[in-house]
């Protein structure tokens, strides 16, 4: 862990806007405030920095060795009332992930998510990162992380569920029961669907089987096997 003794140094490192006069509402005064008590996002005093050797860069992806991302601790003394608040932060690259996601910095997010040694992290941190990847429209990354988690955390239900659902797609050629009259059904829909605006309709071989407010109401007319695959159901917009 690296330490940064002054706010000035931090500002030099990251160009961060530091406000040493701001006191976290949950400050415990003299003593130590552990990270979980101030995270997420309740204090501007939790500062994530790079090792001193990486001084200068302002974007994480410029550093190259993303696995070196680390957080530091920062002591701050309040002189007005004589209280001292120490905020301690352990290595939490997940904090950087969350911050980059919040900023929409997809490049940093992806690079860091792939660089983190997830075997040393908690499974819920991994699922949080998967969720953030999904929110950033990074499906491939989410799939990769879910598969990695599936191997690393075999007993964690949520990770296993993510690994099951977010597995790489599989393409197969299969033979289904032959559908009958799809052309005729599509023709019917082109010509008559507008009469059923807002409803679900079921059409087989060019014949309307039923129309209803919900798809469930059409279950009986859809049928099974060849009948089912020959029945087009659609909601008319």
């Amino acid at each position: 862990m690296n330490t940064v003794p002054t706010a000035d140094t931090i500002t030099q490192l990251l160009g961060a806007e530091m406000r040493p006069d701001v006191v976290p509402e949950d400050s415990t005064g003299r003593g130590r405030t552990l990270l979980p008590d101030v995270w997420p996002g309740t204090s501007s005093r939790v500062v994530v920095v790079w090792p001193r050797s990486a001084e200068g860069p302002r974007t994480f992806t410029e550093v190259g060795d993303l696995s070196a991302a680390t957080s530091t601790w920062w002591n701050h003394t309040l002189t007005e009332d004589g209280h001292q608040t120490n905020i301690a932060a352990t290595n939490t690259p997940v904090m950087v992930l969350e911050e980059s996601a919040r900023m929409g910095d997809r490049r940093t997010f992806a690079a860091l998510a792939r660089a983190i040694d997830w075997s040393t992290r908690r499974p819920d941190e991994l699922t949080a990162t998967i969720d953030l990847a999904l929110s950033l429209e990074m499906a491939t990354l989410a799939i990769d992380l879910a598969q990695l988690g599936g191997r690393l955390f075999p007993d964690h239900e949520r990770v296993q569920r993510a690994a099951q659902v977010l597995a790489p797609p599989v393409v197969r050629v299969v033979r289904l029961p032959r559908a009958r009259g799809l052309d005729a059904s599509r023709k019917w829909l082109r010509e008559h669907a507008s009469q059923y605006r807002g409803q679900w309709v079921a059409v087989r071989e060019g014949q309307l089987l039923g129309a209803a407010e919900s798809l469930g109401e059409l279950k009986a007319v859809i049928g099974e096997g060849e009948d089912a695959v020959s029945t087009i159901v659609t909601r008319v917009l």
Binding site: T127, A128, I130, D131, L132, L134, S135, L136, E137, A139, T140, R158, R161, A162, Q164, V165, L166, A167, P169, V170, V171, R172, V173, V174, R175, L176, R178, A179, L182, D183, R186, L189, R190, A193, S194, R197, W200, S214, L215, G216, K219, I222, A228, V229, S230, T231, I232, V233, T234, R235, V236, L237
Partner: protein
């Protein structure tokens, strides 16, 4: 030649087939779309707008309920999903989606 081409596609995780398509969804003539007849879980035949570059298939909740998918087979992210820049709430499911081919009897 075509058989060899098809085999190459399949081994590369592609499938081939021939089907008809519509160029817009019902009553949405102003939006050009590729609309195919699609089977969901080999049971339900629906019409679907096909976007070959999309990472997910989006189904109406009613469609999934009709198929009786168990919640245990789903993953519900804590964050909203972003698809084509638009934020959606929802769950992820793994299921079989078939693009019906109308020649050679394949899907």
């Amino acid at each position: 030649m075509m058989a060899r081409f098809a085999q190459l596609l399949i081994s590369g995780h592609f499938a081939s087939g021939v089907t008809r398509y519509e160029d817009h969804y019902s009553r949405q003539e102003q939006f050009a779309r590729i609309v195919l007849t699609v089977t969901v879980e080999r049971y339900l035949t629906v019409r679907a707008v096909v976007d070959t570059g999309a990472p997910w298939c989006i189904l109406a909740p009613e469609t999934v309920e009709q198929l009786g998918i168990m919640p245990r087979a789903t993953y519900a992210p804590d964050e909203r999903l972003t698809i084509r820049g638009i934020s959606y709430g929802g769950r992820l499911l793994r299921m079989k989606i078939g693009l019906r081919a109308e020649q050679e009897g394949e899907d």
